[in-house]
């Protein structure tokens, strides 16, 4: 059940994201789009020869993307059938990262081909920056009062949960009573709201795009774009509040981890739905303005590496509108942008390493053997050696009355390794496979060890060997 729910959540995260990326990156009709493969659509592309070439490029890469999408969808279904939880979690995470990269490959190829084609047509960047004097710093659409209301509501829910955990508000929780898990869970959900506040203001104060010589057209377009952002941010904030309230209610009424996971699954589904709505509205807006009102096309294509990473040393601005999709990205030539880039890469690499490590820990059983002189417990790169001559006493037991609280080390469903307090006795060293359903307690003059092999039979034979 745990595996299935994890797969459902991961599936809800990745599949809508892939579909949204597919429909944005590979539109069926490129002629009325603002950009094609991250290259600004321009008058020169409308000639018969150019249109024919670009249609061929667009169709070819759309077909490639369709095949990739189909393969990724099949693989995402196959991930449901991975049996071991930790392995499944690792595979899902690695698969999500790879899928997000792979679906963009035809887009990157298309971007490269169109950049070359632009050069063939003799289109050279004029390096002109446009600014609308009348709209500079004047176009805003963020409904600050509604954003404040949504955040205050969230704060009240958080305060209520904290007071409940502290026992000041007399509400009985069915699960985790008095352990602050309620406050932490609600805090984690509402933390997104805190992150959204500066982003909302940053987007609202972002640079206006100049698409026309008419200042009113520019103002209307930018206001509409910012209004879309603002509405999405406020929607997300209210959704977080509602999820926090539902979590609170589930702590009071239900005693089920499954419900919690189901709530998170529905939450992800709603967020993906809102993103799809945003993208469709934004596409309609761009189609309407770029088809009818646009008279200026700023040529900044060369500053977009692979059509998606902005690198412009001449631009002092840190945040810029993304080339496709929702939200903003950073200028990688900006010192802060470089720091963010390095941080993102390191986080990504670190998260993969940690997941692979967790997966290996969970999937690899502890091996225990007797080498004549010592009892050796081996797990991955860790080894515990107990000198047989130092053993004072040995006993065995099952896990029915075995309570271990971790002090330091690894405490997983199928691996207990490190320093633990066992049945009230502190400082015990554990090297155990709980699935063996048995333990061997070894006392030496200085330490207490609990060990077990990965099977009950193996553990029994080790016990026999030590007893002799």
């Amino acid at each position: 059940m745990q595996n299935f729910l994890l797969s459902i959540i991961m599936f809800i995260c990745i599949v809508p994201a892939l579909l949204i990326m597919y429909f944005i990156m590979y539109p069926r009709e490129w002629k009325n789009k603002k950009r094609i493969f991250g290259i600004n659509n321009r008058k020169e592309f409308e000639t018969e020869k150019s249109a024919e070439f670009i249609t061929t490029v667009a169709e070819t890469h759309r077909k490639q993307a369709t095949v990739i999408l189909a393969i990724l969808l099949v693989l995402s279904v196959l991930c449901f059938f991975i049996p071991v939880f930790y392995v499944q979690m690792t595979v899902w995470t690695v698969f999500i990262i790879i899928a997000l990269v792979v679906i963009a490959i035809p887009y990157i190829l298309g971007n490269s081909e169109l950049k070359k084609y632009k050069k063939c047509l003799g289109i050279v960047s004029d390096n002109v920056l446009y600014a609308d004097l009348k709209n500079a710093g004047n176009v805003h659409a963020l409904n600050t009062s509604l954003l404040a209301v949504a955040n205050i509501a969230g704060l009240l829910i958080l305060v209520l949960s904290l007071l409940t955990d502290l026992g000041i508000v007399p509400i009985d929780l069915k699960v985790f009573n008095g352990s602050f898990v309620l406050t932490m869970s609600i805090g984690a959900v509402l933390f997104t709201n805190i992150i959204l506040i500066p982003i909302a203001f940053m987007v609202d104060h972002s640079r206006n795009q100049v698409i026309s010589n008419n200042s009113d057209v520019n103002a209307n377009y930018n206001r509409a774009v910012k209004k879309l952002f603002s509405d999405s941010f406020i929607f997300f904030t209210f959704i977080d509040d509602i999820v926090a309230l539902i979590l609170f209610a589930s702590f009071i009424l239900l005693n089920s981890e499954v419900t919690m996971i189901a709530i998170m699954g529905i939450y992800m589904l709603v967020i993906m739905g809102e993103m799809a709505v945003y993208v469709s509205k934004r596409t309609a807006l761009d189609n309407r303005y770029y088809a009818k009102e646009s008279t200026i096309v700023a040529d900044d294509d060369d500053y977009w590496i692979l059509g998606m990473i902005y690198y412009n040393p001449n631009d002092s601005k840190l945040n810029v509108d993304k080339r496709y999709g929702m939200g903003m990205t950073v200028n990688m030539a900006h010192p802060v942008g470089k720091l963010i880039g390095v941080f993102c890469v390191l986080s990504l690499v670190a998260s993969i390493i940690v997941l692979v490590w967790i997966g290996m820990m969970g999937a690899t059983p502890i091996k225990v053997y007797d080498n004549g002189q010592e009892i050796v417990c081996h797990h991955l790169w860790d080894e515990l050696k107990i000198e047989k001559s130092e053993i004072v006493s040995v006993e065995k037991g099952d896990l029915k009355e075995f309570k271990a609280v971790k002090t330091a080390g690894t405490g997983m469903d199928n691996c207990l390794k490190g320093k633990f307090t066992v049945n009230g006795e502190a400082g015990c060293t554990l090297f155990m496979n709980p699935q063996a359903d048995m333990w061997i307690k070894i006392n030496t003059n200085e330490k207490t060890y609990y060990i077990s092999d990965n099977t009950k039979e193996g553990t029994e034979s080790i016990y026999e060997a030590i007893s002799e």
């Binding site: 600014a131 609308d132 004097l133 710093g137 004047n138 640079r207 200042s215 001449n314």
Partner: protein, 121 residues
């Protein structure tokens, strides 16, 4: 009014801003008393340093095209001083343009037409 800044032009960016605001005032795109964006807003909009915009505004102020104060920011002057004469620098520039026009074979008539178009009604 749309400002166009060429990053690779020989003309410094602050001067490009100054020239285009002067042209905007002359053409009527910027009317008398019209509010100009703050230094911070315009620099963020173009993606350049605030000092560059500040320098352009200082020149415009010293030349008498705009007024600046801390409370209201920058505005186009209601009445710009009409000296009815060109500065020596501008005269030299005009002389250079006329000379190049003559060398390139533009007739006086065509040159006048160009000036009429630029001058407006």
């Amino acid at each position: 009014m749309i400002i166009k800044i060429n990053e690779y032009s020989d003309v410094p960016i602050y001067l490009q801003i100054r020239n285009q605001i002067v042209m905007g005032i002359s053409s009527g795109e910027l009317s008398a008393g019209e509010q100009l964006p703050t230094v911070r807003a315009l620099s963020a909009e173009i993606g350049i340093n605030t000092m560059t915009v500040s320098k352009a505004y200082q020149i415009l102020k010293s030349e008498g095209y705009i007024l600046t104060d801390r409370k209201n920011g920058a505005r186009v002057r209601m009445e710009i001083d009409q000296s009815r004469s060109l500065s020596n620098e501008n005269k030299d520039e005009l002389k250079r343009i006329v000379s190049e026009a003559r060398i390139s074979g533009i007739t006086r008539n065509d040159f006048d037409k160009m000036i009429d178009e630029m001058w407006g009604n």
